[in-house]
């Protein structure tokens, strides 16, 4: 089991606090969804957990403090998929996924048979074996998302951080990615932390939902407790109805104001 913890985590950009005092604990294979309005600090929080921003407070994977950890050991613990990954157009899929093995290679050494094996099995898992020689520029949105996920999995991380992996996808591909992540976290015993705009998706897939507003945690808990109509109204300034489906998970339905 892996445990990701943060205590009083804060991020400051040019003198402005974009994330303040975030406490969280996630144990594998749990899935934490971070939700909140635009500018709430969701991406900054994820990037802070990925070690890509200077932070105040503490963050740790098990007993390993993330502050001061060098990029290589950190990349073996944490796989990160940014909101808009850079996909070099002419790079073949297999080469791109192999980039995920960087942290496992010596500085001057190339991929070993074991690295090719890992990449092969990741490509297999994500049903990308037919794509290995395809150039990234030729992929569709859904394929791109799977390829970036494959790269993160090739890191063999214990924590997977996903920044809005579904925002550019249609409903079917959103579901595909979410189901995929759900399967992967159980199979590989991963901590998954993901930001998402779609509150219903958060409600359906998350073990826990963390609602962020102006950099601070407003609520953190099971989806049904966090995603209430009143709270969504006050944080998002949106009119919604929240219904609970048969499995006890919330479904958020936008309503026209005043109706």
């Amino acid at each position: 089991m892996t445990r990701l913890t943060a205590r009083g985590l804060g991020v400051r950009f040019d003198g402005v606090d974009v994330v303040t005092g975030v406490d969280l604990t996630v144990e594998s294979p749990d899935w934490l969804m971070i939700v909140g309005p635009n500018g709430a600090g969701k991406s900054s929080l994820v990037r802070a957990l990925a070690g890509l921003l200077p932070v105040s407070g503490r963050a740790a994977v098990d007993d390993v403090e993330l502050a001061g950890l060098r990029p290589r050991p950190r990349a073996r613990l944490i796989g990160y998929v940014p909101q808009a990954p850079v996909l070099p157009e002419a790079m073949p899929v297999a080469d791109y996924v192999m980039l995920g093995r960087t942290a496992h290679l010596g500085y001057f050494s190339g991929p070993r048979p074991v690295d090719r094996e890992v990449v092969g099995s990741v490509l297999d898992t994500l049903e990308l074996t037919d794509f290995t020689a395809r150039e990234l520029g030729s992929l569709s949105g859904g394929e791109r998302q799977r390829v970036t996920l494959a790269r993160a999995l090739a890191q063999e991380p214990t924590v997977l951080l996903l920044d809005e992996p579904t925002s550019a996808l249609d409903l079917g591909h959103q579901q595909q990615v979410l189901e995929l992540v759900d399967g992967l976290r159980h199979r590989h015993d991963l901590v998954v932390v993901m930001t998402v705009h779609d509150l219903t998706a958060a409600g359906q897939y998350a073990d826990r939902v963390l609602l962020l507003d102006r950099g601070a945690v407003v609520a953190d808990g099971p989806a049904a407790q966090v995603l209430t109509a009143e709270r969504i109204a006050s944080v998002y300034h949106a009119d919604v109805r929240v219904e609970v489906d048969d499995s006890g998970r919330p479904v958020v339905i936008p309503a026209r104001p005043g109706t």
Partner: protein, 343 residues
Amino acid sequence: MRRAALPEHRFGRALTLALLVLLAALLISSVVGAAGIDPLSVSVTLINELPGVHLPHALDPLDRTLLLEIRLPRLILAGLVGGVLAVAGAGYQGVFRNPLVDSGLLGASAGAGLGATLVIVGTGSSDGAVVPVAAFVGALLGVGFAYLAGAGRRDVSTLLLAGIAVSMFLSAVQTFVLQRSTQNLQAVYSWLLGSVSGATWHRVLIMLPYAVVGCLGVFLHGRHLDLLAVGDEEATSLGMPAARVRLLVIAASALAAASAVAVSGLIGFVGVVIPHVARRLAGSSYRRVLPLSLVLGAAFLMLVDTVARTIVSPGELPIGVVTALIGAPAFVWVLRALRGSAT
């Protein structure tokens, strides 16, 4: 296995092709020249240089001396310069994620130009051993200034802009110095336009260590340059210290480029066009682009130098002029090809 077999296969073929072109360039360039010597005798003479080999039909001693002491060192120097400039160019292109960057852009050319100008104006002569040293030091200082001025930001375009600013400043200083010493204009310009005439084995040996260390430094980072293509933040999240890799590749490329500039003056375009040809042949991975660039750059400059020393025989054109005459149209082709691939 199907995966990645295609690019590797293409690379094998491209490298074989490039090596054949290099061999042909070597042979053509050793045969073509003022003193007509036939290809067979040249080949035999070259092969006879291998220990324990004594084939008939070698050149007579005079032609042998011409070949081994005059033509061959020049040829090898041209090849070395071409290969090194192409590798340094490719290295910079990886660092800046921009396929149009040249090895001279970051202050190396302008620094070398100023260094050489100061020495030529100061001593009144472009001969002697001091000019290459001054150009070498100038190139490294130019890159160093550009790096100090532009590094530290997350965004690489700042560094590139700093390089352009430093280059402009150094060029302005050079122009100022030249303005005050017009009697040296000819000597300075003939140096600036580039030449490998007067090459000796000694000069090859002087350049070689820096060229080898510089190129090796770039070569060892092929995988890292591929990783830089996804940007600093993602590269860091994948476990690579992006800023350190950038510094190392810039240092190695600058060393290689400075070694080339020192012995040959300013030769443009090779560093842009050759890596692009390599990409077209074998895909975008720097693990393949770098070795191909070395071989193709060497072949290209050998042939260009042969044209430079024969086309207006018995006179010579500056190699930089011929490179630009071929390179400028090729550069336009690069631009058009890139525009095509972007759509």
